[in-house]
Symmetry: D4
Subunit: 208 residues, 8 copies
């Protein structure tokens, strides 16, 4: 297990990470109702000898452009030892549910911003986790699934180049979805129920 | 236009019809925020010479078995002149998001109950509208889309046999979805936004 | 249909436009419960190939003097392609329910301000719609009806001189009121129910 | 002044009387925010030597048919010494804003029920006040004003035949409206503001 | 009647005036639930030919020192034509329920501040009403009654010297209390019920 | 100290006892915010070796007639070892603030009911405390003070005849009021603040 | 893994199980915020091929006597395949925080009731889990810890005799508490935070 | 009794003092629901001849570092005659429930800050009370009890050196706990119920 007593582990991302966490950065009882809280509980329950402080800096609706804008106050200034980033779902979703938006975040901009954030942050932390965005759709030709996969590939590439720990959330969900319908996890194919968040937490914990 | 002054038009169905209508049966300001309210407004605005009373007996979560159970109190006893039925979405959805349910409503039971309700009601009203269930998914092999189409076909068949006015909501949505992504109407592919309800209302009004 | 994909259509006015829109400018789910929302739904449902962004900048209680005061922040700075203006009801109403007000907006001031706003705005947009104020009173000698007609005539005149698209809401309501009592649309002869808002939306849509 | 110490004065009617009185029968701090409360205050302030108990049995939306249905529990069983009745506004209003209603209360039925209630009650009380319904519309040919006057005439006739004290609320308002617009008292021409309720209270007090 | 169309009548004082008026200065529906609202209703109902704007600048808990502090913003800057002042109850009450307060307002300070406010204001208005503080206690030797009477005498003296219209609220209440117990108006001998506020309103109206 | 481990001490009375206790009978955290809660705290803090269960059966507004009506369910059936009764305030108060009430509880009826309740209950408990009603008014000729003293004398007499422990709350307050004004304890002379409740609790504790 | 598709797993107990579950029996999103919800998520996430329905029949404050009273409606009638019981915390706690209670549940009664419930239920289910009560106190001579251990031993004995699956929650917590203070899991040594619930869930899952 | 009429007695500390007092400094009805309010009531009830103003500047969660930060605004600037300080519980508690905190307040820092505050304040007041922190745990080897005793000793030492009046809350509780279990006062061993607050109040009052 990579964490050491005294380490701070900060999660940042969108609504999947947020899940009602306390503003501006949640901790302890303010970690929200999603995978972050499950990771915190698991770390505490299974590694009592290691005191790790978990923070949740997810904000619903965020795209990578939003992360860039608040990175200094919500990540850098908090001086975490570890940072986990899950972003991209909204970068893709807006291209489908808000076609009229002028400030869409295309693949190039997504890659550019995320790579820059990872590069800068790597110098200041013990390590980085990169979690893919996901779309709970098994039809690979679905336009939004295809676009999400494209962004997921960008995350994988950045992880490989930077040495960040890579968490393939899409793969974790695909494995589950091979046996159960997407509706058993989700209404909108994006916001999982608690079973889905357990899948996310297990995927993260498998990488520590 | 088939309606005459003094006619009562009752809509019954699930959450797509319900949309927050007043309990147990909504009317006027209690018609909810969906297509029923839009139909009422359009009838009033475009046919002021015809005073039609619109009722909303939709209940969120209903399947055809639920309609059967409350049919007497929520339809028969209200003595409407016209009845519009849209049901089936939950009959299908539960087979995907609640696999563990023991009381699933399969196609045969769905057909049997709906056909019986239509047959009995036809004797007491001036006319019946049958609106298909729908699933805002363009991939026809999607398991839930395929199952929804099966139920939609059952509705079409019952309409043809009974002489009820048939409203193909799936076709109306498919026409729109040929040009715009499903995300522009919907989060969960089932509950449309107001644009989607306008599509439903327009489809209904085209049948009057 | 005059709108093109990418166009922004901004509605501005008083409570008839406002109808609980999100502050300071409502869009999508924040368009309020009135004719603006109905126009948005109709444009989306009937012209899916044309992606139009609709904004609602109505504020309850506004008179033309209020529009002038916020025009830069609530219209100009938003750079809409199209602007629809419906104002005057409160300019008239206050002369009757708030006789003691010192800052009444008489016909001359109303004409002067509105004409100036239209002239300035015409240079920056693709087009302007001018909707009349209305009073749901069929007795033409009613003092408030007569005064409202005077302001309606001012709007017509400004539309003719500026080339704006003219929407005669009073005429649309009068046509309905020839067949149904004003009480079927309204309590206070000013704030229509949803049937009345459908009449307004239909009148607007007939002008596009 | 007709009242004596120990007398109970009960007001019954529709929303004009109700004004948020405590259910099922309001008294003291539960008299509501309308003319009933003003009458109670005036009686107390100006006749401290006479202890009169005032009750408010008004219910919003009531027509004379509703009064008949609850007369025993809300009037007879309370054994008041005096009863004041103001009803008819909704009997008329529904003929205009709810044309589709099947149970409209026409003039004959209105006269029949009210006369019967007055006749029966006269035997059990010291006295009865009959207050007319009113419509704050000065145009006498307005259909609803004309219909309201017809019902007002019925009330006058019943008062004359029964010996009840007659309170002409329409006349009291007409006197005011000769000098000030209806909008200074009212939005919907039916529910007065506090100035209007003072007019009602003054009219009642002039009859004691 | 001293008021003329266009006059503004401003009431200022403590909780007896306040009664839940809208902040910072209430008008129309925001006049609160006390005598100010009753005066407004009576002026409107009985003198429809005279349009008077009534304002309520009462604030619960105020003493004359508080009036002095906010006089410019809450009176002077509003440029009323008439001002009515009722103050002193809390100046006295605090000497009994808050003995430990260091900033008690004794008779000399009360007289000095009130006289100054009246003198300055008289130059800017058509007229001033001075209403006494009161204590609903008939035992004249009661310490608080005696102290209140002392302050009431100060108000009378200032009225006489300044020519302000004097309203003796204590006398109005004493007349009532000669026939009915104080408990019929009040719990705490300071905050009257609506009957008490009617007494206050009638006393004020007798002075116009 | 008369109580023994396992004893139940039940307080019953009106609002002075009630003070927001949990319904129908409060205990522990539901004892309300008055003297009952203070007695419970003092017993616990000062006599930890004696486990006494305190119950609060006070109900705001009660008169001795109300106690009689609920005595079986709220006292007898609870089988307390000790009962403390404080009643009479409302029996007196209603004679002043509700003169119109037909069911006033005069001294004879008050004495008769209370004596009967005490006599019956004495047979079933270890002991009874009788606390006087009180009125925080030092002017002994005040009509309500005089009437309250009359009822207090009735309580004393019943205590003497029955052997109940007598708690003279009026005397306790009078001793305080000899040095401090009534306003330092109370607004309405009936409902004391926490200092007043401490006086009540101390008086009760002096009798155990 | 013992569960099969279609199995229902019902948890019953006190507040540790309850954790805000939906009344009267929670499922899916109504499973509460404790270990039951974590078990459900883990089963779903890690065994997607096995569809298990989880129910939560915990009720805060329950003792074994409460379970007995509602066993038929809350367990038997629901026909679960598996039942997990965790009870005893309140049976012990009341002996310390409510010494005055007459209906304390001593060890004999606890053993007798629990053994009977287990025996009867074993005949109707596939299997039973018995989870010990616990007290997060490491000082074994602490009176409540000692008493809790006694009840835990009773649970172990019943499990051994009945063949139920035994889950030693106290041991799970003791292992954690050997490394971290009790305050890191808990305020009152009884209601764990999410880390504590994870410990409970892990302990349960280790027994399946 | 050390207090004189006109004295202000200010209590400052953490949640034990706070108990929901009004912000930023509570007085009278805003003194909170704990021992401060009980002290105020007892002083008023038992010493009516001495008018003492009691203030509550407790803030939940505070440690001695927090007191230092707000000392000027919440103590010095209020110019109290007497100050009572109870602090240390959170300084200790955080070392157990928030081990990861970097800004723990060790014994040296606690002593240093508290001694400095006492020294500075002693020059400006008539007197200081120092109340120990406490932990309702009778097992003296319990790590948190031992640590709390260490801080309690620091408080005693500072009191002796400064001449402050010393209130040993731990001793007061220990005396009670010798006869009754800690659960009879408390859930979390830190926040007492009202019986516990009575113990605190009695301990304080014994020192005046």
């Amino acid at each position: 297990m990579v964490f050491e007593t005294g380490d701070t582990l900060l999660f940042i991302g969108d609504s999947i990470t947020d899940c009602g966490q306390a503003r501006p950065v949640g901790e302890r009882e303010g970690l929200g109702a999603g995978y972050v809280s499950l990771v915190n509980s698991a770390l505490g329950a299974r590694f009592p000898e290691t005191v790790v402080s978990v923070l949740n800096a997810g904000i619903s609706g965020n795209r990578v452009t939003d992360l860039e804008a608040r990175w200094k106050s919500d990540v850098t200034d908090l001086k975490p030892d570890w940072v986990s980033i899950m972003i991209g779902i909204n970068d893709v979703w807006r291209q489908f549910d808000r076609e009229e938006l002028e400030d869409q975040v295309g693949p190039e901009q997504f890659q550019s911003i995320l790579a820059k954030l990872v590069e800068e942050t790597a110098k200041e932390v013990k390590g980085i986790f990169l979690m893919t965005p996901f779309f709970l759709e098994t039809h690979l030709q679905d336009p939004m699934r295809a676009k999400m996969d494209q962004y997921g590939a960008i995350v994988r590439e950045i992880a490989e180049k930077s040495g960040a720990r890579f968490v393939d959330t899409q793969a974790a969900f695909d494995k589950y979805l091979a046996k159960r319908p997407t509706q058993s996890l989700c209404g909108d194919r994006v916001h999982p129920n608690l079973v889905g968040h357990q899948i996310l937490a297990d995927a993260f914990l498998a990488a520590i």
